[in-house]
Symmetry: C2
Subunit: 186 residues, 2 copies
DNA sequence: GCGGTGATGTGACTTTTGTCACGCGAAAAT
DNA sequence: ATTTTCGCGTGACAAAAGTCACATCACCGC
């Protein structure tokens, strides 16, 4: 759990008692490769904090093709946020790329948590800003540069991630076909 | 200013005195079509709340081509958020598509504001979540559907906006050439 | 060890989109 | 009122990416 504490304290300082309160709201779970944390069409149980492993957030289009909305590795939060926050059904699925361990936070507990430790609202605000900025920069990247540069930016930004993920998944994340990504090596 | 109060109260209730405090931190400004609220390369003075009019947030790539990151019409907040929040230089510019009136909030005042009226942090959190969700859905839309459907989704989601904006700008927002968008009408 | 599955590269062809060039009509500027 | 600019459509061609089919290699489970 210290991992979570360190993660939060990068943004807001905590007393020991506060962190005890916080940790009481999370539950630990372990999943194996290919298991689903969220299934499309079902309610979203939690917001997940990744302790170890790797997840992919996937949107499947009407032709059945899979598009990767985001990856989540150690110290990342991941969920189908729109569905989680509005308690509606998931439009995406969340699946393990590797065996992974997570801490789970239900929506009701999230609310209690923010009430019990108000600084956490500031923590989540900061995370939301980061997420928004990252998403906006990804939009810009998609609009302005070709695949080659997008792939290079990805390599530069998340070098470790790229090594853990098969290229077919990277292609699904970058928004191009597996073949187009493969052709870059020439 | 009632416009701002109504806007905030859609998310958090306010006392009269609280709103007086809030409004004291904003300053009103008026700009004409083609004027810049943010210039690329300069510091970002404010986060802007649009009272009336229409703005475009633009990223210019190295070839000089303009890409529209987002539009902002009445009751929207807009700024180069990454640069605003970290007090660094803008990578985007913010320009009037029509004559527009805004309320300006400086970063130092934003901080004071959140300290003075703590519920506002919850208001901004909610806005950040909305922004994040919208950005993520735009990413999905770009990855999953062709131009035609993207344009139709835009029409459905912001019918009034589409009428106010020339198609060349819509193309720059959708991430395709003016010609490609024009070809849809056939 | 063996058969299956998944990851990757490659060639041929099609489809989509970008780019450039041009024309036209409406609106704006002088 | 005349000139210029802007918005928009269009045709022709080039470039980029998608699709389909196939081949290879490595790893996994039995």
């Amino acid at each position: 759990m210290n991992q979570l504490r360190d993660h939060i304290e990068r943004i807001v300082p905590l007393e020991d008692t506060e962190f005890e309160t916080i940790s009481s709201f999370f539950s630990y779970k372990k999943y194996k490769k290919h298991q689903f944390l969220i299934q499309e069409g079902e309610l979203v149980p939690c917001n997940f904090f990744v302790l170890k492993g790797l997840l992919k957030l996937v949107y499947s289009d009407d032709t059945g093709k899979e598009h990767i909305v985001s990856f989540a590795q150690e110290d990342w939060w991941e969920t189908d946020f729109a569905a989680f926050y509005t308690e509606s059904r998931a439009t995406m699925s969340l699946e393990c790329v590797e065996d992974t361990e997570v801490l789970c936070l239900r929506l009701t507990d999230y609310r209690k948590l923010c009430a019990a430790v108000p600084q956490l609202e500031h923590f989540f605000l900061e995370k939301a800003y980061q997420g928004f900025i990252a998403a906006q920069q990804r939009i810009i990247s998609t609009m302005t540069v070709g695949i080659k540069e997008r792939y290079e930016q990805l390599l530069k930004k998340y070098p470790t991630l790229v090594q853990r993920v098969p290229k077919s998944l990277l292609a699904a994340y970058l928004g191009v076909s597996r073949e187009a990504l493969s052709r870059l090596s020439r």
